[in-house]
């Protein structure tokens, strides 16, 4: 009950923040829709290129393998009690596919506009859908694996006149259903709050376009640091291939 209350408070706090406005000297283009005002194009199909944390991301890590993670004693206790069969039996196979973890899972993601004010991110891993709202949802609803996300553009600043040249997307997510930060039962709580930055770079050497996602998870209950920061990278690929897979508890 206490967790549920905290989660709701966080969600309200999250949603009360300004949504459609630039940060610092960024600009949002007056009355243009978030879609029209996008300083960077995030849409398309992207594949995660797993060059980091390989042994925990590319296969279900064994129980008790918490290396690299800054966990509280409470988190370790929960993780040590992990039983994937129990999750499956409870219909909670998607615990490892929630918003704080899903961008680290291998597979493709597909980014598109749901409407002029909502960016949609679909994942092959677990067949999940995330919605990034540029306009405030009327109510947070009940907690979900992907929670409630609000987004705003951060246009590149410091230029005199003209259209913004590049920028980033900032996404804040709360209202989360408790899940796993790592698929072997390392928990995040309903209190967890997620901040993400989405940037795009193009490597002129190969002309590859990369989506860079910096992820910050705050969860005082299970994380021993104020913010747990990771970054993930995705390469833009042919949109023709899309092979979603269901959630699996192990």
């Amino acid at each position: 009950m206490g967790q549920r209350v905290s989660s709701t408070v966080l969600a309200i706090a999250l949603l009360s923040q300004p949504i459609v406005q630039g940060q610092g000297s960024g600009r949002q283009g007056g009355s243009a829709s978030p879609r029209a005002a996008a300083p960077v194009d995030l849409t398309g199909t992207w594949v995660s290129v797993v060059t980091e944390d390989w042994r925990w991301r590319m296969r279900p890590p064994p129980k008790g393998d918490f290396a690299s993670l800054p966990l509280t004693e409470a988190a370790i206790k929960v993780a040590n009690a992990w039983e994937p069969a129990r999750d499956t039996a409870a219909g909670e196979q998607c615990r490892g596919y929630g918003a704080p973890a899903v961008m680290r899972l291998p597979g493709r993601i597909r980014v598109s506009w749901e409407n002029d004010a909502t960016l949609k991110v679909e994942t092959e891993a677990g067949t999940q859908t995330r919605l990034f709202h540029f306009t405030r949802p009327s109510s947070p609803g009940k907690p979900t694996w992907q929670g409630t996300s609000v987004a705003k553009w951060e246009a590149a600043g410091g230029r005199r006149g003209g259209a913004p040249r590049g920028g980033a997307l900032r996404v804040m997510t709360g209202n989360l259903r408790p899940g796993y930060l790592r698929k072997n039962g390392v928990p995040y709580s309903a209190n967890a709050q997620l901040t993400e930055y989405y940037n795009v770079v193009t490597d002129e050497t190969t002309k590859d376009t990369w989506l860079i996602v910096t992820t910050m998870v705050e969860d005082p209950q299970y994380l021993s640091v104020p913010r747990f920061v990771t970054s993930s990278h995705f390469k833009k690929v042919d949109a023709a291939v899309w092979m979603p897979t269901p959630c699996q508890a192990d």
Partner: protein, 613 residues
């Protein structure tokens, strides 16, 4: 209205002309990705998730961590591409142009690194054959608020600290992204030698205003008793540790072997992912004869066949080697350019304003002195082909009974070489004629070395014979004041060692020569800079570059020696591909010196010469 206009004008003045995010500050690394690899260190045999080539895998499979105990590697810092992942705090500071007030450079330094400068002032990258360093040469531009950095001129480094190599042909792209108090750095390595696809990593730092990076002194010590010339490594197939990582973590062995496929889950590898990487440094050299400054009086001319090292100054010109004959005009033109750039003006002797004027000659320089010495490092025509004309373009200053006895003693420059060079030139091989008189050395030595008997251009010049190496008459030329060694063909950065077995060359002689060079070199800092080495072909180097090459040659020698000891025939040795780890870097299947020719030369001479295990 006037007030409004003034306000607008003030705003315009206050706005910076270009996006300039400030990255300066103290940054603490966050090790929540790959912590076991980055802090305690990677496990042997863990190559998963890295798009390595077969050559990289083979090289890592035979890597022995004990190689790090060699003097050349004890103080080796992480390279620009790896340092982001190292266990070290980061400081970034900036240079600001006092006129434009724009950021003209960032400096990044870590605990175990050299200061790395990232230039934003529009300067070009150096020529491809300039010295490579651990930090490389970095320029940057703004792409929105993201700083895009291009790095070239990297020394060989590692993709992972368990023996996975990254070659000196690699280039690096970085993207610095600041999100509030967090810094995310995207690093993309392009290595045509050891990667089949670009290798991307993203690393996070958090601003920490209370951080201080302490000094990190490093002194080389004798870490272990080891015979001179031994390079630790495992023979192929003999490394007992390769399966430990996979077995310990329950990972399929084939997955732990790495390669591009292991970066992508299941079947999600993009069809067009295998993009050919290229080295941007290779396109930088365009001029037929390129003049590269080395240090002080010393320059190197490139593009005339072999490298020609030039000492130029008030005493005249000394050339180490003369290139191929057909490039002599271009070489002479390059020497004239160097002479024209000399500042030979001197204060008039006995100058005093009350009695003498300097106005009359202040705009006139005395003529530069001519080519006076040529040193041939060995006999091959790409090093001696210009002898005749370059010698005749020069002059020997002599007189007295020398000029009286030898009528042509003042004609042309002196050509110095080991006696065996003269012998090889004057002996007629089958179907060959002896070299004409004009190309022959005029002054030879037959001992282990000789010195110019006086300073030349302000420094001593020493000639050191290297017996039975590239040939039987090799000479190192050591400019003792400039601290530069012209190595001739005992050291190359372009191919495997060329061993002229017919003219007395041996693999062990080459290795001895490389070790001799290393004995002479002293790095400026962390096995970088200091004594510079000009190879017979290729780029300007320092001790680390020579040590990488020495390690490679020694390991290949050891492999072929072990195969020969087992009774393998030459064809069997070739089929075993003892050089496969380095073939993408140094190998060739066509041209004057193929990998097969190198293997054969090693096979024929292993056990001969002066070094053996």
């Amino acid at each position: 209205m006037k007030v409004v206009m003034v306000a607008v004008a003030l705003l315009a003045v206050a706005a910076p002309a270009a996006a300039q995010v400030d990255f300066s500050g103290e940054w603490a690394p966050r090790f929540w990705e790959d912590q076991p690899e980055r802090v305690p260190g990677p496990e042997l045999g863990d190559y998963a998730g890295i798009p390595i080539s077969d050559a990289a895998r083979r090289r890592a499979d035979t890597w022995d961590a004990a190689i790090q105990t060699q003097p050349e590697w004890q103080c080796r810092p992480h390279s620009a591409d790896y340092i982001w992942r190292g266990p070290s705090n980061l400081r970034i500071w900036k240079e600001v142009d006092p006129v434009s007030r724009e950021i003209t450079a960032f400096h990044a330094e870590w605990l175990r690194s050299v200061d790395r400068t990232i230039y934003l002032d529009g300067r070009p990258h150096p020529p491809a054959d300039a010295l490579h360093t651990w930090a490389g040469f970095s320029t940057a531009r703004w792409v929105g608020d993201i700083l895009e950095v291009t790095v070239t001129h990297l020394k060989e480094g590692y993709l992972r600290r368990n023996g996975l190599p990254r070659s000196d042909k690699a280039t690096l792209k970085e993207y610095w992204i600041r999100n509030g108090d967090y810094l995310t750095v995207v690093s993309i390595v392009h290595d045509p030698v050891y990667l089949t696809e670009p290798f991307i990593r993203t690393t996070d730092y958090e601003l920490n205003l209370r951080q201080q990076i302490p000094p990190y002194p490093c002194s080389v010590v004798q870490e272990t008793d080891r015979a001179k010339g031994v390079v630790p490594h495992f023979l192929p197939g003999a490394n007992p540790f390769l399966r430990e990582y996979a077995e310990k973590h329950g990972i399929p062995f084939e997955a732990a072997r790495g390669g591009a496929d292991t970066m992508y889950p299941g079947s999600s590898r993009p069809v067009a992912a295998a993009v050919a990487t290229r080295s941007s440094t290779t396109a930088l050299q365009t001029a037929p004869i390129q003049i590269l400054p080395v240090r002080g009086n010393i320059h190197v001319l490139q593009g005339a066949g072999a490298n020609i090292t030039v000492s130029i100054g008030r005493d005249g010109v000394l050339l180490v080697d003369t290139g191929v004959a057909q490039m002599t005009d271009a070489v002479l033109a390059a020497i004239r350019r160097l002479q024209d750039e000399l500042d030979l003006r001197e204060r008039p002797l006995g100058f005093a304003a009350e009695t003498r004027s300097s106005v009359a000659d202040r705009h006139v320089e005395p003529p530069a002195k001519p080519i006076r010495y040529i040193v041939n490092t060995h006999v091959h025509p790409d090093h001696t082909g210009g002898n005749a004309r370059l010698r005749l373009a020069g002059r020997t200053f002599t007189g007295g009974n020398v000029a009286g006895t030898i009528a042509d003693a003042t004609e042309g420059a002196a050509i110095l070489a080991h006696e065996k060079v003269l012998n090889r030139m004057t002996e007629a091989g089958p179907g060959q004629r002896p070299a004409p008189f004009d190309v022959l050395p005029t002054d030879t030595y037959y001992t282990d070395g000789m010195k110019l008997s006086h300073f030349f251009n302000g420094e001593g010049v020493q000639l050191l014979h290297q017996p039975d190496a590239h040939s039987d008459g090799d000479t190192l030329v050591y400019f003792r004041g400039s601290d530069v060694i012209a190595a001739g063909d005992v050291y190359l950065t372009t191919t495997y060692p060329v061993i002229d077995v017919e003219r007395g060359g041996t693999i062990n002689g080459v290795i001895d020569s490389l070790n001799r060079i290393l004995d002479l070199t002293i790095p400026e800092f962390r096995t970088e800079g200091g004594t510079l080495v000009v190879p017979g072909h290729g780029r300007i180097s320092d001790a680390a570059d020579v040590a990488f090459y020495r390690d490679m040659v020694t390991i290949v020698r050891d492999r072929i020696q072990a195969m020969a000891a087992k009774g393998m025939t030459l064809d069997e040795v070739k089929a075993a591909r003892p050089t496969a780890d380095w073939d993408p870097r140094y190998g060739a299947t066509t041209g004057p010196w193929t990998t097969d020719m190198f293997i054969e030369a090693v096979y024929r001479t292993v056990g001969r010469g002066t070094t053996s295990q």
